[in-house]
């Protein structure tokens, strides 16, 4: 396989306070190829959002800290860049869309200002040119009345429109990588589908790779080329999207698949995984999923499993599957 666009190697992002060390991201490896859509799946608190903020180097300071690893983007380690070099990358080479389009836009600046400032910053355009380009981009992402909307403020737009504005902002410099942190969670189902469709269209037309953070397996089925399942700060399974639905290997992934509601089977009680995620301040020494795992053996509680390749391109962190 060609050299990946993004290669995360043994990344560890911790939150350190006087009393505890919270290992939010605890040694993950993820590859993203050019133009690929990779979905990172997991429950709240599994470290998926911190992974994306780590790539952007926007982990909340001063407590959050990337303590180990490499994030190779086109072969260059982002963690070795100066703050200034990193800010040159953000918004231009790598950009990000957040979950809440409501709060992610500045309430006192016009849409036009918020989009055009990116072009002024990265492309050296003047304000007039940048605004023209912003209108063009808004039209491209399907925002009606783009000419008027650049003079409006975020509170005047609907949630779906705001997320389109966010996408326009993220894509306006045609980045090589787009990170979308649950971009559709806050939206209506019909709007969700439109926004996902739009993101796929952007990928097809610009060749931008997308990392999509989600806990919605419907989104995964719709979008993903490759799926990374995270649990308690670690990658537990990494595989092509088709395989994950047909042959999930890791007990956690299987449990996730079982908890998808289905129209064909008439179940009275929806399956849910018993127990809760272990505290990231105090992980067990064995397998982190063992407590909740229906297949757990005594040995699982003693020895932490390694991520290993069980089939070509199929990585699983479980000693019981083959």
């Amino acid at each position: 396989m060609a050299e990946p666009l993004l290669a995360i190697r043994d990344l560890k992002t911790y939150f350190v306070s006087k009393h505890a060390e919270v290992r939010a991201v605890d040694g993950i490896d993820i590859d993203v190829q050019k133009g690929q859509i990779v979905c990172i799946v997991g429950e709240s608190g599994c470290g998926k959002s911190m992974t994306s903020l780590s790539i952007m180097r926007l982990v909340p300071k001063p407590r959050g800290k990337i303590v180990n690893g490499e994030i190779l983007f086109n072969g260059k380690d982002l963690l070795k860049l100066s703050d200034r070099q990193m800010s040159d990358m953000r918004g231009s080479e790598i950009s990000m869309i957040f979950q809440e389009p409501m709060t992610a836009l500045n309430p006192v600046l016009t849409i036009g200002t918020q989009i055009s400032e990116i072009l002024v910053r990265h492309r050296g355009m003047n304000k007039r040119q940048a605004l023209d380009k912003a209108v063009e981009m808004l039209k491209f992402v399907g925002v009606p009345r783009a000419n008027e909307i650049i003079h409006e403020f975020p509170h005047q737009l609907s949630g779906g429109l705001r997320q389109r504005v966010m996408i326009a902002m993220a894509m306006i410099c045609e980045p090589k990588l787009l990170i979308a942190d649950e971009p559709t969670t806050a939206l209506d189902v019909t709007i969700q589908a439109q926004v996902l469709e739009l993101m796929k269209k952007m990928r097809d037309e610009t060749g931008t790779a997308i990392i999509m953070i989600t806990h919605d397996l419907g989104v995964v089925a719709d979008m993903a080329d490759h799926v990374v399942v995270m649990y308690a700060g670690q990658v537990v399974e990494s595989v092509a999207a088709d395989t994950v639905f047909e042959q999930p290997k890791h007990p956690y992934t299987r449990a996730l698949m079982d908890s998808i509601p289905s129209l064909e089977e008439d179940k009275d009680v929806l399956y849910s995984i018993p127990g809760t995620v272990p505290s990231a301040a105090n992980f067990p020494k064995g397998c982190r999923f063992a407590e909740r795992c229906p297949l757990a053996q005594p040995s699982c509680f003693d020895k932490a499993p390694e991520l290993r390749e069980v089939a070509p391109g199929h990585l699983v962190r479980c000693d019981l599957v083959s």
Binding site: M56, L58, D83, S87, D88, M89, R90, G91, S92, S95, M96, F98, E100, T103, A104, L105, N106, P107, V108, L109, E117, I118, R121, H122, F153, H155, M166, M169
Partner: protein, 319 residues
Amino acid sequence: MLSYIVRRIMEAIPALLGISIISFILLHIVPGDPVRIMLGQHYTAQRAAALSASLGLNKPLYMQYLIWLGNIVRGNLGYSYNYSQPVTSLIVHALPTTLSLVLISTIFAQLFAMAIGTIQAYFENSIADHIVSVLNYFFYSMPSFWLGILLVIFFAIELHWFPSGGVVNPQDPNPGFADWLHHLVLPAATLTLITLAGYSRYMRSSVRETLLLDYVRTARAKGLRESQVMFRHVLRNSILPQITLFGLSFPGLFAGALFIEEIFNYPGMGLLYWNATGTLDYPVLLGVTMFLGVLTIVGNLLADILYSLVDPRISFDNM
């Protein structure tokens, strides 16, 4: 917008009536007799009765109030007992002096507070943050007259850098702007230091909250320079609460100027009020109090209008 302003002014009338009743009662509760003070050593019962009658002070209190109110509605604040001048002209004469003191102090205090509060919030919990916090509390808890006296002792008496009082040099037949400014430094510095502390505490917490908001993260995710993030995205939102604070603190500043004008012998509203207190000059005391009442209401209205200009989410169209 216009109908909103008109409505706010209408709503202010009951408030002003309330202020007038309370301050009228409070002033007359204060022990002392202005007639006795005015006559001094020439006091006789006969003269006192005559003076009382001519000032209308022999009428029952509610009648005095109604007469005074009737005059006020017609724009007549009455005559000062002391100065034998209309209160209106006394206020008009003293206002520019106080206003320049208050406005200049406020502008400096707000500007410094924005800078100090922002830097503190940005470097939260650093040693500099802690040192500035301690200094803030130091000035915040210090009485204005004491700080004023300290500044006079140090900068006027010891160092001779600035005059210890007055507006201009009385011996100079043609005092210019520079002389006026020279006299303004110490009183303005006192008022600035006293108010700065409170403002910068507010600014610090405001910036701290804004820094945690999602759109600041978005601004950073766009790759904006840290200075752009701070000036365009953080500061603009953080000064919104300062505007309300400004509206609310405006009358307080006049009250603060009272002591400062007394210490620096600075002939503004504060000194006028101070001198009127000593002689129970009712018309002046009531006039200045009512003026401050109007100022409070106007200050709040101005703050609200200013707010709507800075924050697009607030509009008066459907209020």
